[in-house]
């Protein structure tokens, strides 16, 4: 929450607790870059933060149109924060279309910075404005700053030796420079980034550096902002931090698991939004012994993954919902041959192709039930971008220990969003022991570990362990094909029991709030963590009897969950779907869970959850 952002009329530095800024412009305007630079700088400044990129499905929708608008929201604070914020305090709009799409979210009296050079008639036309909103008074309730960004950038870059078209591309750095000044942030991190990133193009590097500096100086010189702000560092737990997106963290988690287990990492994948970045990321780490295989489709991707697992790799496959649909038959095979692999679903809006660049968490059912017959698989879900690291690591550990495919669910919001992430100590990571079977004496491919029920991992190349696996039902112990009725029932139950026993790996849920019970328990999973947590904290601070439980393990669920649910008078499950977790809780625990369902391709705001809490346990009227 911001303490006070009102302009006081004299130039001064005001201390704020939390700020929400949204950059918006054409998809060609470099908005994602601008946003991530501001993020990096805020991270280095020690703020807690959360981000929400939002870009169109088209590569380049026609310039200046509403569908072409790209946005990036960042919330940074001197306190713990959990979401990129509900309503932005500041909106930077590079053109009329960006203004039109984003203005409804700007909070009253918010700061609105626009590139007034982009408000010519044809620009207004494309955005569907009949009158110029900069002139018709419709923006009166905001603090409007009309800045001739294009013109100023051109002036600043005179003589650099770039064509006008290219010069105009630098105007995002000009805007960024202004924002750095406004928030008293040194532009050093970004300068370093520009130098590094354009090291092969000195002219562009110079242009961008100049534009950045010009924006900064312009703000200082013109005193356009009568006030600047300072958001002090957040009291983060001591340690080393970096800013990571969910997809990055996921990739790092698997590399860490590979290193700790001593197994080479194999990724079989086929590009799909918003999962492709994991492939891009991992393909850079060949010197970690990572094999990335871009297959001809999702089926081949998981096929190769299963093959690599059979051959003794830590094998993963990464995709989004439609890709998981294609992989379902092979996942069934993996449950039958009981090989370790991790299937990551970076969920997006559906059904079908749906809203490919938007977020949703509607593939829980698919992960749990989306296969023919009884093919149970553990399901884990990350709560925040940084948590993707831990979830990936944990999924790999469970897969190997229990010899099973494991599902990891994240979503577009986690994948592209970022937060400061406290680096784990490599030595603190749990061990991942791997015991390949090597002894031929008494070897039986489906002989199970009495504790975990895992079968042995006997990889090709091991003398004396020649054996056959496959998708037909196996005889208990020998693994030979068996059509025996009772053996089939036994095997179905053994496979189920093996997954059920993974509850041993699942920590009991911890209740944030009143562990002993109360009026309302809000249960969430996945990326809703931040919004739910923020809302519950707020409502608790207002005295409501409301608690929060967040599930990172969807199958098996924590052993104490049934008990915990029973202690609350009401249970609310906010989800970005039509009530999937809610249904599962009802079915498993016969608890009358109610859903709060948002299916808009964008995350919950804290306010939305807070409002429902109010409705359920009485709020301010």
């Amino acid at each position: 929450m911001t303490v006070d952002t009102k302009s006081t009329g004299t130039r001064n530095v005001q201390r704020l607790e939390r700020v929400v800024i949204r950059f918006a412009g054409d998809s060609g305007d470099g908005i994602q870059l601008t946003g991530s630079q501001f993020t990096a700088t805020s991270a280095v400044a020690g703020n807690d933060l959360a981000t929400l990129p939002d870009y169109p499905a088209e590569i380049r929708a026609p310039a200046g149109t509403l569908p072409g608008v790209s946005g990036f929201q960042i919330s940074f604070a001197s306190t713990d924060i959990y979401t990129p914020g509900d309503a932005p305090d500041v909106l930077v709009a590079m053109n009329p279309a960006a203004l039109k799409v984003n203005l409804p979210d700007l909070r009253p009296n918010g700061v609105l910075i626009v590139n007034e050079d982009a408000f010519a008639e044809k620009d207004l036309d494309k955005a569907g404005y009949t009158v110029n909103p900069l002139e018709d008074g419709s923006l009166d309730k905001f603090q409007l700053f009309k800045v001739p960004l294009s013109k100023l950038t051109r002036t600043a870059l005179e003589g650099v030796g770039l064509a006008t078209r290219d010069v105009d591309r630098s105007k995002n750095f000009f805007a960024l420079g202004m924002m750095y000044w406004l928030y008293n942030r040194p532009p050093e991190t970004t300068k370093r980034w520009i130098r590094e990133n354009f090291k092969n193009n000195a002219v562009l590097a110079e242009a961008n550096l100049k534009a950045l500096q010009a924006g900064y100086s312009y703000s200082e010189a013109t005193e356009i902002f009568q006030q600047t702000y300072d958001v002090p560092p957040a009291p983060l737990a001591p340690g080393r931090y970096r800013n990571v997106s969910g997809n990055q963290a996921l990739a790092l988690g698997f590399i860490a698991a590979s290193k700790k287990s001593g197994l080479p990492l194999f990724q079989g994948s086929y590009p799909i939004t918003p999962a492709s970045d994991i492939l891009h990321e991992l393909s850079r780490y060949k010197n970690f012994g990572v094999t990335t295989f871009q297959a001809e489709d999702e089926i081949a991707a998981i096929g190769a993954t299963i093959g690599a697992s059979f051959a003794g790799s830590l094998a993963i496959t990464t995709t989004s919902g439609p890709g998981v649909a294609l992989k379902s038959e092979a996942i069934g095979l993996a449950t039958m041959v009981e090989l370790p692999l991790v299937i990551c679903n970076i969920q997006r809006g559906g059904p079908s192709t749906g809203l490919p660049t938007k977020t949703e968490q509607a593939d829980l059912f698919q992960a749990l039930y989306g296969r023919n017959s009884e093919a149970p698989v553990p399901v884990l879900a990350a709560a925040t971008p940084g948590d993707c690291f831990a979830i990936a690591y944990e999924a790999a550990r469970i897969a190997i220990k229990y010899m099973t495919p494991v599902f990891v669910l994240t979503d577009g919001y986690l994948a592209n969003g970022s937060e400061p992430w406290k680096l784990p100590g490599v030595e603190d990571l749990p061990e991942i022991p791997v015991r390949f079977r090597t002894d031929p004496e008494g070897f039986r491919p489906y002989q199970r570990d009495p504790g975990t029920l895992a079968r042995p991992w006997a990889v090709p190349g091991t003398p004396g362990l020649e054996h056959r696996v496959g998708g037909l039902e196996k005889q208990d112990g020998t693994g030979n094909v068996s059509y025996d009725p009772l053996n089939h029932e036994l095997m179905v139950k053994l496979r189920a029991e093996k997954i059920a026993r993974i509850v041993m790996e699942v920590p009991d849920v911890e209740v944030f709030g009143d562990p002993g019970g109360g009026d309302l328990l809000v249960v969430g999973w996945g990326s809703t963590y931040g919004a739910i947590h923020g809302a519950v904290r707020q409502k608790r601070s207002e005295g409501r009897s409301v608690s929060h439980v967040h599930l990172r393990h969807l199958n098996p669920m924590p052993g104490n969950l049934g008990d915990v649910l029973g202690r609350f008078r009401k249970v609310l499950v906010p989800e970005m779907n039509m009530g999937q977790l809610s249904f599962v809780l009802r079915g498993r625990y016969l608890v009358d869970a109610q859903g709060l369902n948002k299916i808009q391709g964008r995350p919950f705001t804290e306010a939305e959850i807070a409002a429902r809490i109010d409705a359920l346990v009485g709020g301010k009227k």
Binding site: R240, V290, A295, A300, A330, V459, R468, V469, G470
Partner: protein, 347 residues
């Protein structure tokens, strides 16, 4: 690395028996699959590869039960996906000798895409495709290699699909090794399998296989003793194309068409016969030969159509990892985690 090459000696001598399993072989009596199993069990011990280094992956179909009868590592997977699984095995462990056993339905119906992609990549996996021109396991529907207008369970009034020519398809997919053999001609089949094993990269072998239950006699012309010499021509590297019971016919190129030359008649001379070159850079001749059997009067070629050297995918993938590691140094987890803009928060 090709295990056949890197493990030339030091391996205890293996015999056919080493490759038999304790599982009862469950094909119909008289099925051509038995002959293929026999041939493979005879060739494998010769290859100088330790038994545990063989992996045989299959899909689903009668043919795909093959791995159960081979005492190697085996994977009887799902319909059509064997090439993908085999690719994963080979990428993870380039030192293994990886084989795919598949049928015309498994490989060319549901699995068509994986096959052609594996071939273009030149993944070092050998494909034995049992072509019986029918779906055996599902009891007799026509397959992508069945002749047009075939009456089957699913086409009581005749099928309408034009068939694939598997050799042409493999060549169209840029395969580096393409061959054809016949189930019961053991010596030739074994020769072809050996050549595939020696080849570094993908090898695709179409094996004409008689399904005596649902498509008996499909290959009689080239499979029966009394007709085969007239109807099949064996491709031999560096040799002119000659066939016939009395080796009295030859094949000559006329423009881009092959024509049969009667060597016994006055006009016929062995001198202008086409000399087969497996290793020709240009796949044109192989492509022409692939379609030879379509034409009335012309024989069906068996043997190796094409065999050219290209770097194998798995080898390149392993090399890329080595090279990047040499260049950037072995990855350190600690360093990786600490990369990018890292900052310290004090206690």
């Amino acid at each position: 690395m090709n295990p056949a090459v890197t493990n030339p000696g030091g391996v205890p001598a293996l015999t056919k028996k080493d490759f038999a399993t304790d599982q009862e072989v469950r094909w119909c009596p008289g099925c051509g699959d038995y002959a293929i199993l026999n041939a493979v069990q005879q060739v494998f011990p010769e290859l100088g590869i330790p038994k545990e280094k063989f992996v045989i992956v299959s899909g689903i179909g009668c043919s795909s039960r093959f791995p159960y009868y081979m005492n190697t590592f085996g994977f009887h997977s799902i319909h059509g996906r064997a090439p993908a699984i085999a690719s994963g095995v080979k990428l993870a462990r380039p030192d293994l000798s990886v084989w795919v056993a598949t049928g015309d339905g498994d490989a060319l119906a549901i699995g068509g895409n994986h096959i052609i992609h594996m071939l273009r990549r030149n993944m070092d996996v050998k494909v034995l495709m049992f072509n019986n021109r029918i779906y055996g396991l599902t009891k007799g529907q026509y397959s992508p290699t069945s002749e047009q207008f075939k009456k089957t369970k699913s086409t009581p009034f005749g099928s309408l699909d034009r068939p694939f020519n598997p050799i042409a398809l493999a060549l169209g997919a840029e395969a580096t090794f393409v061959a054809r053999a016949i189930d019961i001609y053991a010596n030739h089949l074994k020769e072809v399998i050996r050549a595939a094993a020696r080849h570094k990269g993908s090898a695709f072998i179409e094996i004409y296989q008689n399904c005596n239950i649902f498509n008996d006699h499909a290959f009689d012309a080239v499979r029966e003793k009394d007709t085969r010499d007239e109807n099949a021509v064996t491709l031999e590297h560096g040799k002119p194309l000659v066939f016939g019971k009395n080796r009295d016919k030859g094949l000559r190129l006329n423009g881009l068409d092959f024509e049969v030359v009667d060597l016994s008649s006055a006009g016929g001379s062995a001198g202008d016969l086409f000399v087969h070159d497996e290793t020709a850079e240009n796949a044109g001749a192989a492509f022409l030969l692939a379609h030879l059997g379509d034409r009335p009067g012309a024989p069906t070629p068996i043997g190796v159509f094409r065999r050219v050297e290209r770097p194998a995918f798995d080898e390149m993938a392993a090399r890329q990892i080595r090279e990047v590691t040499e260049k950037l140094g072995p990855g350190e987890l600690e360093t990786l985690l600490n990369s990018g803009d890292v900052w310290e928060v004090g206690p």
